[in-house]
Amino acid sequence: MNIFRFEFRQALRQTWIWIAAMVFTFAVFLAMYSAVSNDVEGFKSILQAYPESIQQMLGINLDAIGSVLGYYAMTFSFLALVGCIQSATYGFMILSWEQREKTGDFLFSKPVSRSRIFWAKTAAMLVNVVLSALLVSLINYGIFCGGGLQGVDFTAYAEMQLILLILMVLFFALGLLLSLVLGKIKRPSTYGLSLVFALYIYSAFFGADSTIKRVFAPFKYFDLFKVIDQHTLELSWLMLSAAFILCLLGGSYVIYTRQETHLS
């Protein structure tokens, strides 16, 4: 429990900053909504000028852009980007810390198994990730309501926030495994940023081409507009996400518990 507490607190300050960044992103987009809702057709014509690939990348659906949640879907793609960069960075950061800061001799000479260290560190970061997604969801919903948009479909909103959480946990687990495979992670944020942008662009350009390609495009696992229209999260992709997360965590556990503590 002491390792969990220690690691949780270490990351908490960063977590507040990431939460603030996500809330700020949302607030900026929402501030523009009143202007958009007053001239939906004009806004659509601006967006129509964008190439379709860019529209896809930005999560734009011209038919739905006039509704609050349709507009939020566009905002969501940016929120997801920020949230996933945060969680991927945490993934790259947490298990590589001892190697980066050379604190391995301190931690691994304590009377605690590597297995316990792994779960304590992973759990501490997962709680930070969940806390971020939860607080961002609650604060943003509060802003929705405070902005006089009480009519927002809560179920659809909650499902979209669940997607955010799933994506964040998925990127966290991906960062975790990659940090162990790559080794010597000097700047976790650079790795997190690169991973998320690479998969974001891949998802936008290739994610809809075929089922196989979609498997490698996490930002295309869930169709936000299906969620808005039908409150539907595709079960098969939900299961696939869960399976990926479990496999990535399991793989990370196996590698971490077999690793040695190097000084350099």
Partner: protein, 295 residues
């Protein structure tokens, strides 16, 4: 039961040598010195013994248990690594509290005592500490839980002479309370001062394990010979002689072998003076390692 028992302990880094077939048994209550030049394998042995590195072959038991299988045994071990790295942004007091939290007992009194002895300011951040002060943090965090086995890897580097003195008193105090001490160093005077038994390690292998008294009295002798006629240094070009050098009136060297053979050898010369004395550990060390230790 031995406190430390290493059996054919081997660690290779790919094709590179680490340590090879290290066999060692250290009994309870010993202060054991582990001596060797830089790169000889001292830290590798310690880190493999502590489970920080996985052995390629062989096994290391501490209090009869493998630390990889039973990490709880590390609660009885205090370890000071040769290079101390901690969480830089933390205050010393927070780091020590975090370290103490692993042992499930209140270590605050002992932390205060150790910080007083070592004159350590616990309110400062780790990143603001000098190397010597970081070393003090390392010593406190290694001893705060009053371990039964203390493993020290090059412990005095960075400490000033006053702190070294206090540190040795501290270790001797822990020893008197019943702790076993395993102490790696290449500073022989401190090993000589503290240890009952030593092991020499060279190129990853143990080359000699002996009590300090045995080492100093039984085999090695410091010899000074003086004669009217200058000595031919080629005469000393044998395995039993090392570090032969001329003085103004004679020659001095370290001899390792039978004392009767030495007397026979000395009879070849018309000597004006001969002195045979006990070498210090440094001279024995140099005899073992030849020129490489001074490189």
């Amino acid at each position: 039961m031995a406190v430390i028992e290493l059996t054919n302990l081997t660690k290779s880094y790919g094709k590179n040598r680490g340590i090879e077939d290290v066999n060692l048994k250290i009994e309870s209550g010993e202060i054991f010195g582990f001596i060797g030049p830089n790169g000889a394998g001292k830290s590798t042995t310690i880190r493999t013994m502590l489970g920080l590195l996985k052995p390629t072959r062989g096994k290391a038991l501490i209090f009869g248990k493998d630390v990889n299988l039973e990490p709880s045994i590390k609660a009885s071990i205090g370890y000071l690594p040769s290079e101390v790295f901690y969480y830089d942004h933390m205050r010393v007091s927070d780091l020590l509290k975090y370290s103490a939290s692993f042992y499930g007992k209140d270590c605050s009194k002992r932390i205060d005592e150790l910080c007083d002895i070592l004159d350590l300011d616990v309110h400062r951040k780790i990143e603001d500490l000098s190397f010597g002060n970081r070393k003090k943090v390392g010593i406190v965090q290694g001893l705060l839980h009053e371990p039964q086995l203390i493993i020290l890897d090059e412990p005095t580097s960075g400490l000033d002479p006053l702190m070294q003195k206090r540190f040795f008193e501290l270790i001797q105090g822990e020893h008197q309370k019943g702790a076993t001490v395993f102490f790696s160093s290449h500073i022989l005077s401190e090993v000589q001062r503290l240890c009952n038994r030593v092991a020499f390690v060279k190129d990853g292998s143990l080359i000699q394990v002996a009590s300090l008294a045995e080492l100093q009295k039984n085999t090695f002798k410091r010899v000074l010979l003086e004669a009217a006629v200058p000595f031919d240094l080629d005469d000393f070009n044998q395995d039993c002689f090392s570090h032969a050098d001329r003085t103004t009136t004679g020659v001095h060297f370290i001899y390792n072998g039978s004392i009767n053979d030495l007397v026979t050898f000395m009879q070849r010369y018309s000597l004006t003076n001969a002195e045979i004395s006990e070498p210090d550990l440094e001279e024995i060390f140099m005899a073992y390692y030849g020129g490489e230790a001074s490189k």
